[in-house]
Symmetry: C2
Subunit: 395 residues, 2 copies
């Protein structure tokens, strides 16, 4: 192949909010109709207070049509073709804040403040639509089902089984655990077991955070300092909880967490698990592990590295593990590499050994997800970035 | 001087729990009597589940008398003399889990689960005792008052004023903010203003954490991975909230957080405050700052580095800032350097330039705290470690 295969491990798709109604159980229509204007108003306020409308308006100019790829498959394929992307892992929240699933079931999902039954209804509406969306192009669309596993485990397991049967390749779980049982709890074993057995990849994605008061000075800076930590937190629950020890084939991905801090996290966990003088008084917490925590990361975890390479991730790719980093374009969000993926890739990766680029752009994702490699390579051979452009000499 | 001055910035002092009764307002005696057996039972359970009694029992053998320095000044001075320590910053919780102030007002304090009025009663009981304890030896004992500032600000401010009048050199504030207003809220300005004006140093100390279920596998590992983050969190609330911008003389210390991760935190904050592409959509959150976040750290903050140098802190002391690191022995806790402070210092610092050792052991603390340098140097000249032992040649 003279072109790279790009599997973007961070894509977003979702319906304009009013259209989720058609995918909801009819018994929730009344609640939906009541919630819709509230959700619109909250979106408006978020754009006013939190998001800088000037930035967003400017960014949207000229790409309005392309943004419709959030829910329109024809547009989406045209757009990602142009961006050089063969396939995408699909999270909810197509356009930032504009088409999240109903009842707080989107990226920012919190296990509080919403009736679990309603949140489940919202999640299922999204999952049904996503199943259709992926069915239309099963090779290029690697769908994730939203699974609210912190509530009733039986109910969550049933959704995971449904998702598997309907072609999903993984699940998105709540990153924030709130007052619910942590992911180190054995009650979740049936879900991990099913995911391990069927190769479903478990994901968190940045975005969820405590209920900051965004009126206060510095709230955004605080959010930005912490957001990756909130998204990554389930990982050390799983590691120290012995979940990867018990389910050695379980796959976990944390996405859009800006990776430059991951080596530090690995060091932190290993130090904590090994220094005896300072933690001796706390008793035994290691006998459920047979390896240092970082080894579980290197075996069971990946980072969905969403175009944040400008924050120093390239420099630490070997410390994270070159086989753990998977590129994502974040289409159609403004903070990602789209629509300039080719340009950005050249900026960060020109001169890097071809095998490393290949690993980060696609080969690692082929390892992680149950996808049809041959079909994807064929697409990549048509639209992927030319390998020759990346040689140091091509600069 | 041929000896180093050691100001330990992490000492713990507190009464055996039943003796706090004498320092409580009498109207809380009935509640105290009711709570005491519960507190004892909780302590017993914590020792059984959380703390490894085997480790702790073994550790206590032969030092039972020395541990009484937690509340007995004569014992304390003998013990710290032998350890080479001239003065100490005094936090609550003399002996781990065994003599915390009543009503959850100790190190692990959380702004939930306890009636604020009772928690305040417990804090005041400790503060009254601590005032006496420090009055007995005002040079060597740098007392901190427990200030529950997340509740009523007027009440907190009154306690801060009382503390200042009664010789305290700083305050300990809750690290966990729970559902209370974050430290970036302007409601706290009167407290920061008073502390700035009178040189009172604001502290957090590791220990507080969410209500983990310690029955679950890996809970301790999760706690250890996160504890420093919980203790440090108020710092980025203060930095991004513009509090150090508004109160440029305010001093903040985070204690026993194991410092090796601090350079990473500084990098994280600076990256978050500077990268525009990935955070542009979130609007302006920097215009209340005139410097990069790390510069506020380097001007307003210190780390109370509690003998955790075996975790790699020495290697990054310059990245943290050699003028930001203050040694602590953690007496009388088992995880610190006491009773082997001289030995540990030699292990980690032999061959390090004298000026750096001097800074970390005492000079930085002299900058930070309003103490009588001449009196402390006189004590150090009697009991401090010999400088000549630290030369590379002495090995």
């Amino acid at each position: 192949m003279d072109r790279f295969l790009i599997v973007s491990t961070d894509g977003h798709a979702g319906l304009p909010m009013e259209r989720y109604r058609d995918y909801l159980d009819s018994k929730y229509h009344a609640a939906f109709d009541e919630a819709l204007p509230i959700q619109r108003e909250m979106t408006r306020r978020a754009e006013e207070k939190l998001l800088l409308s000037e930035f967003n308006d400017k960014w949207r100019q000229g790409i309005e049509e392309d943004l419709k790829g959030a829910w329109d498959g024809t547009v989406r394929n045209r757009v990602i073709d142009a961006d050089g992307v063969a396939a995408e892992v699909l999270f909810p929240d197509g356009i930032t804040e504009q088409n999240a699933p109903p009842f707080g079931a989107g990226l920012a999902l919190k296990p509080w403040g919403v009736d679990p039954e309603l949140q489940w209804a919202g999640a299922r509406a999204h999952n049904r639509w996503m199943a259709e969306f992926c069915r239309d192009d099963p090779h290029r669309r690697i769908g994730l089902a939203i699974v609210l596993m912190l509530y009733d485990v039986e109910e969550a397991l049933a959704e995971v089984k449904w998702a598997y049967k309907n072609g999903f390749k993984g699940i998105l779980i709540p990153a924030l655990m709130g007052d619910r049982e942590g992911y180190n709890h054995p009650r979740y074993y049936p879900i991990w077991a099913f995911c391990e057995q069927h190769g479903l990849v478990v994901h968190t994605h940045s975005g969820p955070s405590p209920d900051y008061d965004y009126q206060l000075p510095g709230a955004i800076g605080i959010f930005l300092t912490e957001f990756a930590w909130w998204a990554g937190r389930p990982m050390w629950y799983l590691i120290f909880g012995g979940v990867f020890e018990k389910f050695p084939g379980l796959k976990f991905v944390m996405t859009e967490v800006s990776e430059f801090w991951v080596p530090h996290l690995l060091e932190m966990m290993d130090v904590r698990a090994s220094v005896k003088h300072t933690s001796g008084k706390l008793g035994d917490f290691r006998s459920n592990l047979t390896m240092p925590p970082s080894e579980y990361f290197k075996r069971n975890c990946w980072v969905g590295a969403s175009a944040l390479f400008d924050e120093g991730s390239m420099a630490v790719r070997h410390e994270i593990g070159i086989d753990r980093v998977m590129w994502g374009t974040d289409y159609p969000h403004p903070e990602g590499s789209w629509p300039k993926t080719r340009e950005k890739l050249l900026t960060y990766m020109r001169g890097v050994p071809e095998s490393e680029i290949d690993a980060m752009l696609g080969a690692n994702a082929l390892e992680c997800y149950d996808v049809d490699e041959a079909a994807l390579r064929q697409i990549a051979q048509r639209i992927g970035p030319l390998k020759s452009d990346f040689s140091a000499a091509a600069a």
